[in-house]
Amino acid sequence: MSEAVRLSYDVSADDFTHAGEASGAIKRTLKKLGIDMEIVRRVSIAVYEGEINMVIHANGGVIEAAISPTCIEIWLKDKGPGIKDIELAMQEGYSTARDHIRALGFGAGMGLPNIKKYTDEMKIDTEIGVGTTVYMKVNFT
């Protein structure tokens, strides 16, 4: 049995122009491994949403991924302000993004709901003032 392939990407704060690089790299890796394109697309969207969240809310962070023969697991780790009310944050259309972020067309409140929609498993660990880790998993079969 082979070990999981581990990937890691830095996401920088307030850098919208480069957001999407991690999801792009993960997509290319999955394609190279021959994963079904429909699954690749789901992972790519979910990670992209996560990346944008980290840029908007959390001063960036680190994205780690582990690819095993059965699934891909992803951890979006940030040292941001933490999420006050997870239930509210999971609601479609709810967003705490500031006005200048909304002016750029982000902050529609679809980030976390989309991650949930496109993944098989999702978990949020958050502590106010310490940071948030969003865990997601997509199965290959």
């Binding site: 049995m1 082979s2 070990e3 999981a4 392939v5 581990r6 792009g24 997509k27 890796t29 394609k31 190279k32 491994l33 021959g34 994963i35 394109m37 697309r41 790519s44 969207i45 690819i67 095993s68 023969p69 290959f140």
Partner: protein, 442 residues
């Protein structure tokens, strides 16, 4: 498996082993090994980018010379519409057409006539169906091959209508048979092309496997003779029968504009085409109905076998088409004729995956990761692979050796030099009691 034919070939005597070609290849299909470039045939899409950048002209386009006509009783020149934009101050297509009849051809036929039929057929196809949008143009063979190789999921999006080149060749042959009464095998149809991918496509069609083309002659092969002949023309024959729509296929956006719809995207240049396909693959733009991609800058006028600057040629084409009727060729019936349609599915081509087995692919990727960590990440290309990442892959798959990296090599030389000098010092004393120094240095 059939032999892979390519219209891009290397003259090894001229190749100096520089890294220009490996750096520009859009599919990473070239390596430098033992001081010479090597094309990985299964990855090459015949776009010709390497021909453009090769400083010693070792990367060469392969196309037929005019003597390919020898032996045919009736010779037809099939003109790509790109040829018109090559000629200065041209205001009448018939000058070019007539000149071809003076340089050895018995008749001339414009591919743009078939292009107008393809435009009409595409409009019908787009109106009739409920497809998974966007529909992607099938006209550029380099782009179609790029899709087969790197975007297998998009194969089903490719417009299942044959390219104007193939359809025009069939029309030209039938017309010649009717005119002359000769047997088909005595008639030679020779495509005058701007493009290496079309050379390959005519020898080895992606779809169908059959073609009515007997030879592909590069525009650059006939250009000078053609211009000289045109200058001496006394009488111009009225042969041309193309409209604005057909001639516009020579430039980027021409095919799309003929669809009379605003929901299209057109992009030129092979890297732009790749980027657009990445986005389509992620379904980022759902309102798009049609996508026209051309491997060459400015469209087919930018082909490797053309003579003039692509953008100048594009501007000339725009001026020339201004006085043409919109379209002079039309389908005879309401349905798209069967012979214009693909007669089989467009299949993907394996080549980019690490392995069919996910376990194995993961193991290889582990290995690649390990090797990549040792590399400097400069993508210098001195190892002969286009980037450190590709080099790591080549080593993991056994095609390269770690020591081909000059940085790894340098570290090793340094290490050995240190050991040697320590050993030398000890030998100088005539005894090896400082053996601990050597161990420490390791």
């Amino acid at each position: 498996m059939e032999k892979i034919y390519h219209a891009v070939q290397l003259d090894t005597d001229k190749c100096t082993g520089c890294i220009n070609c490996i750096k520009c290849c859009p599919t990473g299909a070239i390596r430098v090994r033992a001081g010479k470039a090597k094309i990985l045939k299964e990855l090459c899409i015949d776009c010709g980018e390497c021909i453009r950048v090769c400083p010693t002209h070792a990367m060469k386009p392969i196309y037929d010379r005019l003597n390919v006509m020898d032996g045919y009783e009736h010779k037809v020149a099939l003109l790509s519409p790109t040829i018109f934009g090559q000629i200065r101050n041209l205001d009448d297509l018939d000058y070019v057409m007539t000149a071809f009849k003076k340089i050895g051809f018995d008749d001339v036929f414009e591919t743009s006539r078939a292009a107008e039929l393809v435009s009409e057929a595409t409009r019908k196809y787009m109106n009739a169906g409920n497809y998974e949008y966007p529909v992607i143009s099938s006209a550029c063979p380099a782009v179609v091959k790029l899709i087969q190789l790197k975007f297998p999921d998009l194969c089903s999006h490719v417009l299942p209508i044959k390219s104007p080149m193939h359809i025009a060749a069939k029309m030209a042959r039938e017309e010649a048979i009717n005119k002359t009464g000769l047997d088909s095998n005595k008639i030679g149809v020779f495509y005058i092309s701007p493009c290496t991918a079309e050379v390959t496509e005519s020898k080895n069609p992606i779809i169908d496997g059959e073609t009515d083309i007997d030879g592909v002659i590069g525009i650059c092969e006939v250009y000078h003779q053609l211009v000289a002949t045109m200058e001496k023309l006394e009488k111009v024959e009225p042969i041309a029968n193309s409209g604005l729509i057909g001639v516009s296929w020579a430039i980027d956006g021409g095919e799309s504009a003929a669809l009379m719809s605003s929901h299209y995207l057109s992009a030129d240049g092979i890297n732009n085409a790749t980027n657009v396909l990445e986005e389509i693959e992620e379904k980022k733009f759902k309102r798009l109905h049609f996508v026209e991609l051309r491997a060459c800058s400015a469209g087919c006028v930018g082909g490797v076998l053309t003579v003039k600057n692509p953008f100048m040629a594009k501007a000339r084409t725009q001026i020339l088409r201004k006085y043409l009727p919109v379209s002079t060729n039309h389908l005879e019936k309401d349905d798209i004729p069967k012979e214009m349609l693909f007669n089989c599915e467009l299949n993907s081509v394996e080549g980019m995956k690490l392995s069919d087995n996910l376990f194995e692919a993961l193991a290889i990727m582990q290995k690649i990761d390990g090797i990549e960590k040792k590399l400097p990440g400069l993508d210098c290309g001195a190892c002969g692979s286009p980037s450190c990442k590709t080099f790591a892959e080549d080593v993991a798959l056994g095609y390269s050796n770690e020591n081909d990296c000059v940085f790894i090599m340098r570290d090793q030389v340094q290490h050995f030099a240190k050991q040697m000098s320590l050993l030398g010092m000890n030998l100088g004393e005539g005894r090896a009691d400082n053996i601990d120094d050597i161990k420490e240095s390791e």
